[in-house]
Amino acid sequence: MSVNITMKVNGKSVTAAVEASTTLVEFIREHLRLTGTHVGCNTSQCGACTVHVNGRAVKSCNMLVAQAQGADVMTIEGLAAANGDMHPMQAAFKEHHGLQCGFCTPGMVMSACELKGKVTNPSDQEIRACLDGNICRCTGYQNIVTSVKAGLAAMS
């Protein structure tokens, strides 16, 4: 069964007819060809597919695109400025070596950005607890924690 979808992705209106079983991440990657959002597990455990839906960090493998009907979606591609200048959180990850292979990174950055407004001056341990839904196999998390701290400070 096909459904008609209308939503905003990275500020642009998008309309498409898709199979009802299409997940949000499939729609983002396969239909919109925004391949910065990654699939690491497809069972909502790893967080590589995290995007923002109406400002909330959501694991897009675990949501049907139909559930995002009318929503305002932002993917990693929508975070940097149009000229490629990085968002403060992205810049912080670069400055503090908060990434290695880069695969979990988009989801990690999207989760980190959502913390703005949810926590104020978080401790390292609080940041670690907040990142519980995102798995990274490369960094040992330490530089991610440093990056998130610096990124949140730069966003305020």
Binding site: N42, Q100, G102, V145
Partner: protein, 784 residues
């Protein structure tokens, strides 16, 4: 120091694309006329395949083609090769059963590749694969490593007792003599459990055949595209190498699991000609758990003989190592060449003997995983040393000092020659950094809160940059172990470097550029690094075993030296001097002792616009390549100290502090090196605290095949790690570097278990130290 040169903390060139979603991983690639593959995998650990009826699947929407083992058999395609021949102690070669790319007659583990369905979409391929009708005859399964050799069932007919080889190494008689004169013999039985590698990017491949040029292109998540091409072309499919291009684009982590030639990508390449369309496959996470080569899986008995002062006299290790159902690419070398040779550790033990029995089981193949043999060796040695210290009532640091190697080069009794090191210095630094002096007070404070606190050491050594090729060849390697580097200087003095190393998170685009910029005296922005494409890079052995900088970096330095040597000749001509009088300093060619000089970019321009040029003596152009074959391994070493607190009510272990002081030789980019240590330590502690790849011992079903069952380390499992360095430069490569990618995973597990056993007062506990296991150990100790 140059601000962006060797030793500088330079942020990474590759980060912008990864941070903005512009990385290009294999699954991101969609080719024109793309089709998708789904594999039909055996649901049984061991079964005959009595028949396959594809009719229903073939009638499903979108299905393009279906292939089974019968098609592979008819096409006379070779099996996947094993890259290292091992000889048993009785002189017979290891048994190497055929490893067909789709099962022929039998399936030998849950997840074994029975058939492939190719369809217009991934969903259609999966739906059709689900209705494939396979008639299985279920057989009893061999699952447990420790009892495989006693099983009545054989995984392969040619190995009736499931033994692949029994390898002996070292001086058995010498060890026996040492045991006879020993004051005390400490013993330890341990299991180094099976792990799933879990690179965050699942394996993926996309293969396309071009009919007009009769050539193939394979995009694949792989750590060594040239090795992939060589093995696939020469040993499996018989494709001429010049008709095959392998591209490993951005790769989302490897940890060893993407070294190997797997059935999936091989099937795709083969089938792409048959269907004459590109075919893509991306593993889902459960497929990754089932079919990625796993790591570790050793069952070991160790005995250490000592004199009355705790000086080690002899060490005997008997290990059973799982190979899984088939021999993966480097499986045979891991528990032998990369394990037995490391059992001297940092110590002067004069006699060592190791015997390794490799067994087939009805489980996924086991191969190199971050550290590959060295974590297993370090775990045996450093746990053994801890047990010995307690037996001898010696401080664990003291027993280590009594046995440290202090003169170099040092030839161990297990075949390696350590070139350089200072083990006292790393131990001293670690003790200071971990504030061991304050531990007693911290322990008392924990006890006052009803908690148990422990501290554990691990003074590891490892070996990187497996080499030289001829020695490795004599030991059974079926590949070379050099690396290539090409330095292409453009007319304007900008430099493109092509390396056979592959970056899948290590940051080579930055580190290698720092080296070249430093050597050529040009800004790092003027250097770019290309890798991962056999269509661009001359040749390469790829990235594994922490070899990239020590071997690949050395090849690049060698090529840079050739560029400078040629540049001197060009400069000599321009400056009307003898090339022996030219020196190259900070990017300028200078006539020694004069102010006559010419910058690098002028020389490069002259090389490509050779109007004023010694054409009779020198070719135009400035492009050099080099192959570098190391003369020895490099030997990173260090001391890790772990401090834990255990809640006796629940058995839950908290890592309070972790200190790693390492000697990686010279450091090019300290930021990247620290990152490697953090990641390695987290992976090692993941093994020690959380991870366990468990098969049901009867059915052979993988019980931990998702992130809901397999405990991956998460951010809140760790404290911040303290990381320090002591440098003794490697004596035999031009950069004096050793390698840092695996040390964290090698050193940390025994430090952690030594701390846990110290906290709860037991001799041993197997990894992972789950709350249940720790609580049970405490109860047993209390009732003993």
């Amino acid at each position: 120091m140059k601000a962006d040169g060797i030793g500088a903390r330079v942020t990474r060139k590759e980060d912008h694309r990864f941070l903005t979603g512009n990385g290009q991983y294999t699954d991101d690639i969609i080719l024109p006329r793309q089709t998708y593959a789904a594999f039909v995998r055996s649901p049984h650990a061991h079964a005959t395949i009595n028949g396959i009826n594809s009719a229903a699947a073939a009638a499903m929407p979108g299905v393009v083609a279906i292939f089974t083992g019968k098609d592979i058999e008819e096409s006379k395609i070779g099996g996947l090769p094993c890259g290292w021949g091992i000889t048993s102690k009785d002189g017979t070669p290891a048994i190497e059963p055929a490893h067909p790319i789709l099962c022929i007659g039998k399936a030998r583990y849950v997840g074994d590749h029975v058939a492939v369905v190719i369809a217009e979409t991934a969903e259609q391929a999966r739906a059709a694969a689900d209705v494939m009708d396979v008639d299985y005859g279920i057989l009893p399964a061999v699952v447990s490593t420790g009892t495989a050799a006693a099983s009545k069932t054989a995984v392969h007919d040619q190995a009736p007792n499931n033994v692949c080889y029994t390898w002996g190494h070292g001086d058995e008689a010498g060890v026996k003599a040492a045991f006879e004169k020993a004051h005390h013999i400490s013993t330890l039985d341990l299991i180094n459990q099976r792990l799933a590698p879990n690179a965050m990017e699942p394996r993926a491949a996309n293969a396309v055949y071009d009919r007009s040029s009769e050539s193939y292109t394979l995009y694949v998540a792989n750590q060594n595209p040239h090795v992939e091409r060589l093995l696939m072309c020469a040993f499996v499919l018989g494709i001429p190498e010049h008709k095959m291009r392998v591209v490993a684009p951005d790769v989302g982590g490897g940890f060893g699991s993407k070294i190997f030639v797997y059935a999936e990508e091989t099937v795709l390449v083969w089938a792409s000609k048959r269907v004459n369309r590109p075919i893509k496959w991306t593993a889902d996470r459960t497929e990754a758990f089932l079919s990625d080569a796993h790591g570790r899986d050793h069952v070991t008995k160790a005995q250490l003989a000592m004199d009355k002062d705790g000086k080690f006299l002899g060490f005997r290790v008997d290990t059973t190592a799982a190979m899984g159902a088939y021999l993966s690419t480097f499986s045979t070398a891991v528990p032998t060449i990369l394990y037995g040779t490391l059992l001297a550790g940092q110590y002067t033990t004069p006699s060592i003997y190791v015997e390794v029995t490799a067994v087939f089981t009805n489980t996924a193949p086991v191969d190199a995983y971050r550290g590959a043999g060295r974590p297993e060796a370090t775990y045996v040695v450093e746990r053994m040393v801890e047990v010995a210290a307690r037996d001898m009532k010696l401080d664990p640091a003291e027993i280590r000092r009594r046995n440290f190697i202090r003169t170099f080069p040092y030839a161990t009794p297990v075949g390696l020659t350590y070139d350089v090191g200072d083990y006292d210095a790393t131990l001293d630094s670690a003790i200071k950094m971990a504030d061991v002096a304050g531990f007693a007070a911290r322990r008392a404070a924990s006890e006052a809160r009803g908690m148990k606190r422990g501290l554990g050491y691990s003074s590891y050594i490892e070996a990187c940059g497996l080499a030289p090729s001829n020695v490795a060849g004599a030991l059974g390697a079926r590949a070379g172990l050099f690396e290539s580097g090409e330095v292409r200087v453009h007319p304007t003095g900008k430099v493109e470097v092509f390396t056979g190393s592959h970056s899948h998170g290590q940051g080579h685009e930055t580190t290698f550029a720092q080296v070249v910029a430093d050597k050529l005296g040009i800004p790092i922005e003027d250097v770019s690094i290309s890798h991962g494409d056999t269509g661009k890079v001359l040749f390469g052995m790829g990235t594994y075993g922490s070899r990239s900088l020590a071997v690949g970096g050395s090849a690049i330095v060698k090529a840079v030296d050739k560029v400078i040597a040629k540049g001197k000749k060009i400069a000599a001509h321009l400056l009307e001097a003898s090339d022996t009088d030219i020196e190259f300093v900070n990017g300028e060619f200078i006539v020694k002792g004069t102010d006559k000089k010419v910058p690098f970019a002028s020389v490069s321009l002259t090389a490509y616009v050779p109007h004023n040029y010694p054409l009779d003596k020198l070719e135009p152009g400035l492009n050099e390549n080099a192959f570098y074959d190391p003369t020895n391994f490099t030997y990173p070493a260090g001391t890790h100290i772990c401090e834990v607190e255990v809640d006796p009510q629940t058995g839950k272990v908290e890592i309070c502090a972790f200190t790693a002081v390492d000697d990686f030789g010279n450091i090019i980019n300290p930021m990247i090196v620290e990152g490697q240590v953090h990641g390695g330590v987290a992976q090692g502690l993941g093994q020690a605290l959380l991870e366990d790849c468990i098969y049901d011992p009867e059915s052979g079903q993988l019980l931990t095949a998702s992130y809901m069952d397999y405990a991956m380390p998460r951010a809140d499992d760790f404290p911040n790690f303290k990381v320090g360095n002591n440098v003794t430069a490697c004596t035999h490569n031009p950069l004096g570097v050793k390698g840092c990618g695996e040390a964290g995973a090698i050193g940390s597990p025994p430090a952690f278990i030594n701390a846990v056993t110290d906290a709860i007062g037991v001799k041993h506990i197997d990894m992972p130290a789950t709350p249940e296991r720790v609580w049970r150990a405490m109860q047993s100790a209390a009732h003993a």
